[in-house]
Amino acid sequence: MAQGKIVKVAGSLIVAEGMSSARMFDVVRVSKHRLIGEILELRGDRASIQVYEETSGLGPGEPVESTGAPLSLELGPGLIESIFDGIQRPLVDIREKAGDRITRGIELPSLSREKKWDFVPKAMPGDLVAHGDILGVVQETAVVEHRIMVPKGVEGIVKSIEHGSFSVDQVVAVVEGKDGTAHQLTMMQRWPVRSGRPYQEKLTPQSPMITGQRVIDTLFPIASGGVAAIPGPFGSGKTVVQHQLAKWAQADIIVYVGCGERGNEMTDVLKEFPELHDPQTGETLMKRTVLIANTSDMPVAAREASIYTGITIAEYFRDMGYRVAIMADSTSRWAEALREMSGRLEEMPGEEGYPAYLSSRIAEFYERAGQVICLGKDKRQGAISAIGAVSPPGGDISEPVSQATLRIVKVFWGLSAQLAYRRHFPAIDWLLSYSLYTGNLSDWFTDNVSPEWAKLRQRTLQILQEESELEEIVRLVGMDALGWKDRLTMEVARSIREDYLHQNAFDDIDTYTSLTKQYRMLRLILEYGEKGQMALDAGVNLSDVIELPVRERIGRAKYIPEESLAYFDEIESELAEQTGALINRGGL
């Protein structure tokens, strides 16, 4: 192992000499505190090392020791329900051992070595297995069956396979390779965070990831295996949207990376998730969640790694054939960590001081998402949907992180400070946002929700667009200048905004809306628009159409529980009745 000496310390960056045998991205241990670091640059025998822990008190001359291996994660049973820091240190275990603050140089295994898991073999002795094939399964939580896969580089015939209770470091199977070497396989495997896990084939996403959020599912859907960004100014509700997605998104596994955000936001997640129940499985949301926390007061270098840690864990579950959703809040803080390290490395700064490789790093992260056919004989499919929050300073998305993100992602949920100020949540701006998946997904919606879906969606967007044009006129010459037809359009648009797009994350019923309910709600509002227009044509006064008694029920339709959707038929017939009566009277 290379053993060097510190020659320079600059914040979280350390320069050490005598490191000629080290390799790029090797993990090193720094000083007698054995702080964890990673090699970022090699120049002759000098290595620049980013240290994932506080470096105060370190000085030149202290030893640096390379471990000879890149930063890797432990992947195996025990990941779910855990909370890790940016380099996969188990925060709960650390607290038990060292108290509320992470002490320096603490060494704990990421996955518990004591806990026993019931391993049920799926492969038989004599089977030919290769990388990605499933050896056996472990019921990790009530909802997650952890599939133990053959690690990279192992191919051969299963010599023996156990059945029973084991910890993650005990041998559960022996595979004999072609050259006769016996591979002792445990339930745990290691994977370097910076390289993507392999798959057989990447597919075009064809089905949506249902989120239960009306503005997202209806207007700007994300595909299962898609990538989305949520840029928004401070206070516009990025974190709440991320939490909502983490709670309700139709995914088997959720990886939530809290990256450089406030500590109490992670506390919210920790407090709420064990109490909330997944609508699909009925179990608590924590039973399918992995949390990575690098809050704003934790060392900046580990923040840089946290995103990779998150996506590597996501890939591992994807390889088992699961649909995984990863939320990163926020990628801007991560980019700032990159900038800080880049500055200390004395690299030539690019736009706004960010390193020149900013966009390629962001792309690297998002490109690891997608729907794939996994390695393994059974050709199972898995998907990673990645959703990154971006916090542009001052809400101006012309800054480099937002722009680099927008080039890659296919869904853009632009949050608007104005909407947030008007208390319209989720503050996703319908005029700014877009989803490039709608084309791919329209067939799915037609088959699974309603053939009318695409038409309703189109009409909704059109009405909202018309509203913004009419608002310009109103601002210039006043509401009186609009004809009745336009006044009614404004009313319908208001109804779409307030009764449909506005969704209360803190109301038990309103927090999640199934697609069927979304369809019924939207149809109701648009039908009111059509019937109202017919009434106006028949000579009914505008105020009668606007003050139609049924509108109150339309407005409250969002609070109809999922199990009593028949209620919508009632409102629809009431609407038909009341407009019919108006029209009959309207001709006078």
Binding site: V477, G478, D480, A481, L482, G483, W484, G539, N541, L542, S543, G587, L588
Partner: protein, 110 residues
């Protein structure tokens, strides 16, 4: 076309609009809101471009009149009724002038 342009309508109390019959206007007597609304729709549907309405009738059906404010094919013009004017017609003209040029140039007090 020429024939259409010449057509006039009149809505209001019977005594007030009778005189319009003499010049060939289509007259519809109406005093309540429903009657006036129906009369306006009826005349408009017949394609009559100019409808005179007595100020009293206009005031009971203000909403129905506002519908035609923004349409190009029907103009509704309030006229004094048999009891004389109460300033409704003049106020409408003044409001429109204010909206158009931003100053009240018709106010006689100035």
């Amino acid at each position: 076309m020429a024939d259409k342009l010449l057509r006039l309508g009149a809505v209001g109390e019977e005594d007030a609009i009778l005189a319009f019959k003499a010049i060939g206007a289509v007259t519809v007597p109406a005093t309540t809101e429903d009657e006036v609304t129906a009369a306006l729709h009826q005349l408009s549907r017949q394609g009559i471009p100019v409808i005179f309405i007595t100020e009293q009738a206009a005031q009971v059906a203000a909403e129905a009149i506002s519908r035609y404010d923004q349409t190009m094919d029907t103009a509704i013009i309030p006229i004094p009724g048999i009891k004389g004017t109460d300033g409704f017609g003049a106020k409408r003209v003044r409001d429109n002038v204010i909206k158009a040029i931003g100053a009240d140039i018709l106010n006689q007090n100035n």
